[in-house]
Symmetry: C2
Subunit: 378 residues, 2 copies
């Protein structure tokens, strides 16, 4: 195997596939990155067997030559050293060459690294996905969906299914839902020309989080395809594959109250900052609870107290409060997460009593929904 | 106590004194920050009993009013919550008020915090230093001295005296020396009008490191005064006090070879980058050793190998090599630290054999000296 490549292009590719590589894998060869050279381009692969990422650098792209002097071949290289070595090379051009003894030589300027590789034949075969059944969406919209729901997955392995984000595609409506059973986040978006439907697919939250880190924030299309136990996200030069979680996702629609007893509109950022301040004294305790009390029809008071440290209170002006007076306590962290996810300048909050879940939605009727269970404080 | 102050000015002061406050102090009240209001201004104090920092905000400064409505008094407040609270306040103006029950109220906009304080009478008295015997130097020069020597102190408590930087002031020459017994860093600078001399004062490396973080990088004067067991650094609005280390600092001048057998000049940055690359494969092992070999009279080869991972080699062109051919091995970390400290584009390196300490100096004859002991590799 041999090729000459632009250092910066190689670095970008390595950074992408590194996201899938873990030092704690049970399959030793998966601590390495696989490099495969073909006449049409170079493919790097990283995997921890849950997530697999392939990054492709074409030899030529829109008439630009990216890679020269390609001799086909493949090798697996220790991922621990490879990124730093490439990043710190003295020149912008890198020559990579391997011999039949699995020795890899990296040359750039006067620097030469000789590294021990492993046989690419020993690298596990990644599952190949049938991608005829797929749908497309803009990359930045997928990133938004992940950011607006992924934070709400459970981090506890007691109910593994809740560590994933539930995806549902029906009648060209894609819905993401995540819950840790104390709060829930969901969003629906329309998709065009989906030639698949699926009632329930659960993708590990960790996979979506890594995917979000890799994807560029632009509206280039990303293709999504699903099989029984795998999901594939495909962009122009990237294949991101994740296993799906086994098990039945709970029915969440019943959780969402249909009526409200108290409701108001409020500026998202103002409420966020007020809750953030009220949570400062409570940061010791697990739940850092704050209390919200309506005052007449225009004011809401946010308070918190931590017996040893002190108390905090702040009033916030809201648009007219409809319905009953209310005092409710909740986790400031959940509220902050929910408000940050909404990304719209005004929210509507609907309550059905101090002991029932309440709902936060953007005031513009975008189908984002954040639900939080209150905390008993007596 | 009461006063109304600019939030940003208070934040800057808090950040400075926080550098001295540790959560692991044996004196509980030292986990707090002391606030003292006088008609002429506010003083904040933080201390871990090794380091004490006082930051002063004058009520008026060059005709600008910083603080209003001052009622004198003092209180000690939990340092854990105070910085975040002030930073996140909604308005740029902060009102701070305490009552006779040691309750402190912080108001800004509609936010109000009520915090439990402690009696400032219980806060330890800081030692007062007689500052008639002192000298001045530009702040940025002091910062440079710290950066160029402080990294070489020992981090091991086996010889506590080596965890400090040795300061010596004689005949208007100030010298800083630090060594961990494997390497040594020193620099001399002239000072003007010093009306003190001291043969040997050892300041904890940690204290100088914190001082360096606090000081602005400008040439405003900083005043230094020394007593038997304390050193005081004083700028316009800051008092930084540190205890001194007890014990005899070793005589280091004998370590420095007077003649050399091999010497060359080299571009600092080129050598630094080459050593950095050579150290990449060695990062596992404690000493990450690299080997340097002269090749003829113009080339130096840097190599390293890590049996399991591979090898690296790179040639670097130097200005003519004087003296004997040489192969020497040393810690890449020590070399990188030394080259970074020199901050001059070309260095001169002088060797007296593969088993003797070698010396790195800036090519411009500035009295900075970095000494490194080689490593036996056979």
């Amino acid at each position: 195997m041999k090729f000459i490549i632009q250092r910066d292009q190689l670095i970008a590719s390595i950074q992408d596939v590194m996201k899938a590589i873990s030092t704690r894998t049970v399959i030793p060869i998966l601590t390495g990155v696989k490099i495969e050279a073909k006449q049409h381009g170079i493919t790097l692969t990283g995997s921890d067997s849950d997530i697999s990422i392939e990054s492709y650098i074409p030899a030529e792209d829109d008439g630009n030559v990216n890679i020269e002097q390609i001799q086909e071949g493949s090798i697996v290289l220790q991922a621990k050293y490879f990124p730093d070595i490439i990043r710190k090379l003295p020149e912008k051009i890198v020559e990579i060459e391997s011999d039949e003894h699995l020795k890899l030589t990296i040359r750039s300027g006067k620097a030469e690294f000789n590294l021990n590789g492993q046989d690419a034949e020993e690298y596990p075969q990644l599952p190949t996905l049938q991608t005829d059944d797929s749908f497309e969406m803009p990359t930045d919209l997928l990133k938004n969906l992940i950011k607006q729901t992924g934070f709400a997955v459970s981090t506890m392995e007691t109910r593994p299914i809740l560590t994933g984000v539930h995806m549902n595609l029906k009648d060209n409506i894609l819905k993401f839902t995540a819950t840790d059973s104390h709060r829930l986040a969901s969003r629906e978006i329309p998709v065009k020309d989906a030639n698949i439907q699926f009632p329930s697919v659960v993708v590990p939250g960790k996979s979506l989080n890594e995917l979000n880190k890799i994807l560029d924030d632009n509206d280039a299309p990303i293709e999504v395809s699903v099989t029984n136990n795998q999901i594939l996200f495909r962009t122009k030069h990237l294949n991101f594959m994740s296993r799906l979680l086994d098990g039945n996702y709970p029915e969440t629609s019943r959780l969402i109250p249909e009526q409200s007893k108290t409701a108001f509109h409020v500026k998202t950022k103002e409420l966020l900052n007020t809750i953030d301040r009220a949570s400062l004294l409570a940061k010791e305790e697990r739940n850092n609870v704050v209390r919200m009390t309506t005052q007449g029809d225009k004011l809401v008071e946010i308070t918190s107290n931590s017996p040893e440290v002190g108390t905090v209170s702040e009033e916030i002006t809201v648009q007219s409060i409809e319905g009953e007076a209310l005092t409710i306590s909740f986790s400031s962290k959940y509220m902050i997460d929910a408000l940050k996810a909404i990304e719209y300048e005004e929210v509507k909050i609907e309550f059905t009593g101090a002991m029932r879940p309440f709902i936060i939605r953007p005031a513009n009727e975008d189908p984002i929904l954040q639900l939080i269970l209150p905390v008993r404080t007596y």
